[in-house]
Amino acid sequence: MKEKQKANSPVEAVEETVAEAVLEAETNAEDEAAVLESESAAVDGEQEQAAPVKPKKVKVRAGHSSMTRRSMRKWSWLFIGPVFVSFIIGFLWPFLQGIYLSFCSGRITTIAKAKLTGLQSYEKAFADESFFHAFWFTALFAIVSVVLINILAFAAAYALTQGVKGSNLFRTIFFMPNLIGGIVLGYLWSMIFDGLLDLYTTTNLVDDATYGFWGLIILLLWQQIGYMMIIYIAGLQSVPEDMLEAAKIDGATKRQTLFRVIIPNVMPSITICTFLTLTNSFKLYDQNLALTNGKPGRLTEMLALNISNGFANSATRGMAQAKAVIFFVLVAVLGIAQLVTTRKREVQQ
């Protein structure tokens, strides 16, 4: 009876069937306390399987060790259910639909009416010149911004950890732009840039792709230096004090200390910041939309904006979805590369 009641919620049903099958296997992997618990739970499970009509006995056992997994499982619908359901609505289901849609083409108004056409959308995506231009524009943008942001953020962090007066105030100010959202930032800077350009030229920011490129770079620098600086400050503060002292006693110059002692010690922060800036630059959308909206023509369109624009027209939706899958693979490769490099470093340490 109890089992049936539980099976009402779908999460619970999956959970139960999976749980029963793996209880044995799990025990090995746990620490001592958990082993004890899951063993008692396993005994529970066996008894229930053998005699499911005796709920009384189970009840007594559950009362005795209420913290076992079994008693937690009773509440799984509450603990994991809400997140699981909204995770499916907000991510998993749309993600799967997205993969499906990338194999459809023609006019796509609703997902149910989309027609499967195999790889046609991918062919279209690869034949789309604006997509290629967006890719190279994004790649170039990413390289320039990653290098500049990291160098400047590190310099700022280094300067602010020297015990200079007012460091806290400077840190507060450097970080502030990071809180302003991309759309607001974009319009804020587009007005500043247009005002600046008015002083010396007759062109606007959206008239020239070079202006657009550097405008985006300046905007992103302004926004992200503070963020990366915080990470670098945390890294710099964790450099062991005795190492710095030893370097000083050995007569190392400031420069030698920086390159031979400090930088090797903040390598983890450098890796994190490099990947953060890289993925941020690749996924950049709001700032691009607000600052240039791809103008002039589609010359300053980055990947995310290029894809999003494709969704506006029902005829190009299949192609846009195919582009999105390609984009996803690209970003995922970056993410995996990050995971591998950080893992490696952890092993070394």
Binding site: E26, E30, D31, A33, A34, S65, S66, M67, R69, M72, W75, S76, L78, F79, P82, V83, S86, F87, I89, G90, F91, L92, W93, P94, F95, Q97, Q162, V164, G166, F170, R171, I173, M176, P177, L179, I180, G181, G182, I183, Y187, L188, M191, I192, G195, L199, W222, I230, I231, C273, K283, Y285, D286, N293, A304, S308, F311, A324, F327, F328, V331
Partner: protein, 288 residues
């Protein structure tokens, strides 16, 4: 003698650095200051000389704010209100349910939990463009297009980072504490809310900061999911809608006022919880 001299050198060096940094900070603030100054100028003066201070001829008081607040014939306070509702509801949902789910995942650790945890981490690398079209359709059909229901979408989409951070922290809590609670007769619910949840406080704050910053500034998701025809707008959506198309025709001074007012809440939030924000950012960055 030599030592004293080097100390003196050190001190002058630090003062010079302090001054240099102060100048850089001032330059750093210039964009915002420029916007602020221009909100008090006449539109024509904004266009012709962006970087000059308002004088008696160009000064218009708070006129720009008055026009800016009703730009696009949409009262701006409504956008602020909806942004606030969505941000608070989303952050609350994420904090409560994701920490609960993370505790369950960390402690039960069944195959289902492992798969779910993997999917959560996986969702962090997926760019939004991948789901934007299907998500807008799904959310529409489930009526998740109002400020009161869109937090469910945020809960699903924001679960990845939150669960990742909560699981990491939960695993560092000694399980003996929970065992002691259970020996004292607490069920899972009481163990969680009376024992585990209070211990999560530092991570709760970090996650709250990260989620608030994300939801408040998010543009694409609300612009696609929210029912705009029904008058639901967040601040970024409102700014995008009123400026595109009307940029150039719209009163520049009013636009600056709009931009400036939309920055104010986040600046206040920053100045009040600065310590936590900087900590939260540092914690959120150290994700694997």
């Amino acid at each position: 003698m030599g030592k004293q001299q080097s100390l003196k050198q050190e001190r002058t060096r630090k003062t010079v650095m302090s001054v240099v940094l102060a100048v850089i900070c001032l330059i750093y603030m210039l964009p915002i200051l420029t916007i602020l100054i221009n909100t008090f100028k006449e539109a024509s003066a904004v266009k012709s000389s962006l970087f000059s201070l308002p004088n008696s001829e160009t000064f218009v008081g708070f006129d720009n704010y008055e026009t800016g607040m009703t730009a696009g014939s949409y009262p701006f306070w409504k956008a602020i209100l909806f942004s606030t509702i969505i941000t608070i509801l989303s952050a609350a949902l994420i904090l409560i349910f994701c920490s609960m789910a993370a505790w369950y995942v960390a402690r039960v650790n069944s195959v289902f939990c492992k798969i779910f945890y993997f999917l959560c981490i996986f969702s962090m690398v997926v760019p939004f463009q991948m789901v934007q079209f299907p998500l807008s359709k799904t959310a529409d059909s489930l009526k998740l297009n109002t400020p009161w229901t869109i937090p469910i979408v945020y809960l699903g989409f924001g679960a990845g980072l939150a669960i990742f951070m909560f699981v990491g922290f939960t695993k560092s809590i000694p399980i003996e504490i929970e065992e002691a609670a259970s020996i004292d007769g607490c069920g899972p619910l009481r163990t969680y809310f009376m024992v585990v949840f209070p211990m999560l406080k530092p991570t709760l704050i970090s996650v709250a900061i990260l989620e608030i910053m994300w939801v408040w500034n998010d543009y694409l998701l609300p612009s696609l999911v929210l029912d705009l025809k029904n008058g639901y707008r967040t601040i970024p959506v409102h700014i995008q809608l009123t400026t595109t198309g009307s940029y150039g025709q719209m009163n520049l001074g009013a636009m600056m006022a709009l931009i400036f007012v939309s920055i104010i809440p986040i600046i206040i939030f920053y100045l009040v919880c600065q310590k936590y924000i900087i900590k939260g950012v540092a914690a959120g960055a150290v994700k694997g």
